[in-house]
C-alpha cells in the first residue's frame, strides 16, 4: 500500500494486439528502485530479451514517473523514457521536463506507461484518466511536432492536454530522433525512432485525479527550506538571466567547448555565441517547466537576417556547442533556426551537430566528395549548409539518409580511418564537452550506460571547482562514480539536474521521504544508486558489451589538444578505467563481480536470466 507519491498503477499498452491493461506496482520493487530510471532499468532487464532489435514489436518503450511528479516538489517536472537505444544497442534513458507530461500521467492515475507492439497503421494514445484509447493518427502522420500537438489538442477539444509527439524524423527511424514535448526534448537515445517503429505518433494525457504526499507537514517545511535556499543562492539570478547558455563562457575559457568536430579549442567567431550575445539577440520571455521555481527556459525571437520573425525555444548550451562552435557556426540566429528545425522534425540537436561536424571533417580530408554529398560542398561555418543538411537528414534524402544513421554508422560506412575522429562512445555522440580539456568527462562518456551522454553525471563543476584539476586522471574514477550515482538517484526520484540550485543529495532524499513516507537513509540511497547503475551495466553486458566498448575515439587518446588551455593533453583513459572498475566492484573487463551483484541485491534478478 502506498501512502503518498505513487499511484500504484502501471498502464500497459500492446499496439500489435490493440490491448490496454493496468497492473499494480509492486511495493518492494518501488522501494528498491524508487521510480523513473531505476524501475525502468529493472523492467527493461526483465522484459527486453537479449539482442532484441530496438525496432522490433517486442521492444518496449517505458514512460516513467517517479514518486515526486505532480506534487509541488521543486525541480520535479520531468518524466523519463527508457528504451533500448537504436544508436548504441545499450540501455538508454532520457529525461524531459516539457508540457507537464510526467505530472499529467500521475494525475491520470499512473506511475508509468509501458508500450510494446507495433500498430498496423499510425496511431496515437489518448489517456484520459481511466479511459485509454488507441486512436487513428493517419491524418497526423508527417506533421511536425508542433503541428501534431496543436492538431491533437484540436481533435480532443482541450488546450490543456499534454502531448508527447514525434516528428517526421521519428517516423523515418532516424536513429537520433527524440520525443518533443513543448519546448523540451527526450532527445538522446533514439526514443523517437522507437516510437516511430511502433507507428506511434504521440501520447496525449489528461488527468483530473489528485496526487498526495505522505507527510504534508514535513513536505511544507521542506518547501520553505528549499525556497529560502533558492532565494539566497547567488547563482540563481544569472541562471535565470542567461539560461544554460551561460555555461559557454566557462567552457570556452577553460578549453572545453568543442570546436569544429572536437579538433581544437579556439574559435574566431566565439563572440557570436557568448551568453550575453545569445540573450541580447534572442530572448523575449522566460519559461519554467511545470512546478519549477527556476525559469531557465527561454522563448526567443529572431529579429533580423534570413530567419527573421521566427519564434522559437532559446537554444540550450549543448545545442549551441554542437550546432554552433562544433560546426564552426558563430551566428546564434543560425544556431537557433537549426535548433528550431531539429525540434520540429523531432531530432536530437546534440547528435545532429555531432554527425554533421563529422561529415564536414570527412569532406575536408577528402574521404568523401561532392559525389557522396549530393553536390554539396561541406565546410565549417556554413550556416546555410547546416540548415540544408538538417532538412536532408529529416527527410532521409540522399546524403541525409546516411547521416540519419548517426556518427558511428556513418563512420563505418565511410571507413578510411574516419573512426579516429568519429566523436562518439558506444554510438552515442559526444555532448558539448571536450574530454581532452576535461578528462573526467572522458571517463563519464566511456562508462555511461548509453555511451557519451553528459547528463549521466557531468563533471565540469566537480573537476573545475572541487578537484581544481581538469587535465589529469587523479581522483576522477571516484568522482565519476559519485556523480553517476547522484544522477542515478535524481533520475529515479526524478529531479532535474538543476535541482542543485536549491538542494543537495540529503534534501532530495528528504523530499522523497516526505512524499513516500518511506524513510530512506542516505546510506541506503547510495546503495540503491549503485544497484541501479550496476543493473544497467548488467543489461549492457548481456548485450555483449565489455571493456572494449568503454572507450573513446582515437583523437581523444592519441592526438594532443592543439591549442587552448588544455594544449598538449590527451585523455588518460586506461588508468582511470582500471580505478573506476575497482570503485564499482566490477572486474578488469568491466563486468560486475558476483560479490558485487550479491551485495547490491541483484542476485535473484540476474540468476533468473542465466
Amino acid at each position: 500500500m502506498f501512502n503518498g507519491g505513487y499511484k500504484g498503477k502501471t498502464l500497459r499498452i500492446d499496439l500489435s494486439h490493440e490491448t490496454v491493461a493496468t497492473e499494480s506496482l509492486d511495493e518492494a520493487i518501488a522501494r528498491a528502485y524508487i521510480g523513473g530510471r531505476g524501475i525502468g532499468a529493472y523492467l527493461a532487464y526483465r522484459e527486453l530479451a537479449p539482442n532484441l532489435d530496438p525496432f522490433s514489436p517486442e521492444s518496449s518503450l517505458y514512460f516513467m514517473t517517479g514518486p515526486l511528479q505532480g506534487t509541488l516538489t521543486p525541480f520535479a517536472s520531468k518524466f523519463a523514457v527508457i528504451n533500448k537505444s537504436p544508436l548504441s544497442g545499450s540501455l538508454s534513458r532520457s529525461v524531459c521536463g516539457g508540457g507537464g507530461f510526467g505530472p499529467a500521467l500521475k494525475y491520470a492515475g499512473y506511475d508509468m506507461v509501458i508500450i510494446k507492439g507495433t500498430a498496423k497503421r499510425p496511431v496515437y494514445i489518448w489517456i484520459d484518466d481511466d479511459t485509454v484509447q488507441i486512436r487513428d493518427a493517419q491524418r497526423h502522420w508527417g506533421k511536425t511536432t508542433g503541428e501534431t500537438k496543436a492538431a491533437i489538442r484540436e481533435e480532443l477539444q482541450d488546450d490543456s492536454v499534454s502531448v508527447a509527439p514525434i516528428g517526421p524524423a521519428g517516423e523515418r527511424l532516424i536513429r537520433f530522433s527524440g520525443i518533443i514535448v513543448d519546448s523540451r526534448a527526450a532527445g538522446r537515445g533514439g526514443a523517437g525512432a522507437v516510437m516511430g517503429s511502433k507507428n506511434l505518433k504521440a501520447i496525449a494525457v489528461r488527468g483530473t485525479k489528485n496526487v498526495y504526499a505522505a507527510d504534508i507537514e514535513e513536505f511544507q517545511r521542506l518547501l520553505e527550506d528549499t525556497y529560502a535556499t533558492i532565494r539566497s543562492n547567488p547563482a540563481v539570478p544569472g541562471r535565470i538571466e542567461k539560461g544554460t547558455p551561460g555555461t559557454l563562457a566557462v567552457t570556452y575559457s577553460t578549453g572545453v567547448l568543442p570546436v569544429m568536430n572536437f579538433s581544437r579549442a579556439t574559435f574566431d567567431d566565439i563572440e557570436g555565441l557568448m551568453p550575453e550575445t545569445v540573450r541580447d539577440t534572442l530572448y523575449i520571455h522566460n519559461e519554467s517547466c511545470f512546478g519549477c521555481p527556476l525559469p531557465c527556459g527561454k522563448a526567443g525571437l529572431i529579429k533580423d537576417g534570413p530567419y527573421k520573425g521566427i519564434v522559437l525555444p532559446g537554444p540550450e548550451y549543448e545545442t549551441i556547442g554542437l550546432l554552433g562552435s562544433n560546426c564552426g557556426i558563430g551566428d546564434i540566429r543560425a544556431v537557433a533556426q537549426a535548433n528550431y528545425l531539429c525540434n520540429e522534425y523531432g531530432m536530437d540537436t546534440i547528435s545532429t551537430g555531432n554527425v554533421i561536424a563529422f561529415a564536414i571533417e570527412c569532406y575536408q580530408r577528402g574521404l568523401i566528395t561532392v559525389k557522396d554529398t549530393d553536390g554539396l560542398e561541406l565546410r565549417f561555418g556554413d550556416a546555410e549548409g547546416l540548415i540544408t543538411l538538417i532538412e536532408k537528414i529529416a527527410r532521409r534524402d540522399g546524403f541525409g539518409d546516411l547521416l540519419a544513421e548517426g556518427t558511428k554508422r556513418v563512420s563505418e560506412k565511410i571507413g578510411q580511418g574516419s573512426e579516429k575522429f568519429a566523436m562518439h562512445s558506444k554510438g552515442q555522440g559526444f555532448a558539448a564537452y571536450e574530454p581532452r580539456g576535461l578528462v573526467g568527462m572522458g571517463l563519464l562518456y566511456a562508462t555511461s550506460t548509453p555511451g557519451a551522454n553528459h547528463s549521466f553525471g557531468p563533471t565540469l563543476t566537480p573537476e573545475r571547482v572541487e578537484l581544481k584539476d581538469m587535465l589529469t586522471h587523479k581522483g576522477k574514477a571516484a568522482m565519476v562514480r559519485r556523480e553517476q550515482n547522484k544522477y542515478c538517484l535524481q533520475d529515479s526520484m526524478i529531479f532535474c539536474s538543476f535541482s542543485r540550485f536549491g538542494m543537495d543529495n540529503a534534501q532530495r532524499l528528504k523530499f522523497t521521504n516526505a512524499v513516500t513516507g518511506w524513510g530512506y537513509s542516505n546510506e541506503e540511497s547510495m546503495n540503491m544508486a549503485d544497484r541501479i547503475y550496476t543493473l544497467e551495466r548488467l543489461f549492457n553486458v548481456r548485450e555483449g558489451f565489455s571493456k572494449e566498448d568503454d572507450t573513446l575515439p582515437w583523437r581523444c587518446l592519441n592526438e594532443p589538444m592543439p591549442d587552448g588551455p588544455a594544449k598538449g593533453n590527451t585523455v588518460p583513459l586506461e588508468q582511470m578505467l582500471e580505478e573506476y572498475y575497482k570503485e564499482r566492484g566490477w572486474n578488469k573487463n568491466g563486468i560486475p563481480k558476483t560479490e558485487t551483484i550479491r551485495r547490491l541485491g541483484l542476485a535473484d534478478l540476474v540468476d533468473e536470466f542465466q
Partner: protein, 144 residues
Amino acid sequence: MSKKRLRVIEERCVGCRICELSCSMFHHSGAFNPKNGLIRVESNWSFGLNKPVLQMDRPHICQQCEPAPCAEACPVDAFVKKDDVSIWAIDQEECVGCQQCADACPYDMIVMDKEKEVAMKCDLCGGEPLCVRYCPTGALVFEE
C-alpha cells in the same frame, strides 16, 4: 480591515503553475492537481514564423468584484463577507452545488469541487495567499 489586494504583474509570469499547485495544496488538504487551483494560468506558447510573442503566460485571478455577481446569484446565501480580508467567501456547509455562482462569474473563476459537490472561490487563503508566497518571479503580489 485590510485593503490588500491580489494583483498580477503579467510580464513576470513564466507559466510554472506553482500558484495553481500551492492553491490546490491549501484548499484541498494537501492534494495536488493544478486543475483544483482557484487561480489559473493560461499559456500560449507556439513556435514558428510570426507567432505571438506577447501574453505567453497569463495568470487569471478572482477579481474579488464588488458588487459580486457570484454572491448575488447564490440562491441559498452561502456567500459570506470576510471582513478581515474584505472579500466574499463560500460557506461550504451552506453551498448546495447548484453552480449558479459559476455561471454568473464573468471571469470563470469559480471551481466546482467534484468530490464534495460544492463551489469554491479564491479566499486569499484567509489573508496570506500561498500563490503569492511561492510565486518564484514576483508575478503575483499582495499589497495595498
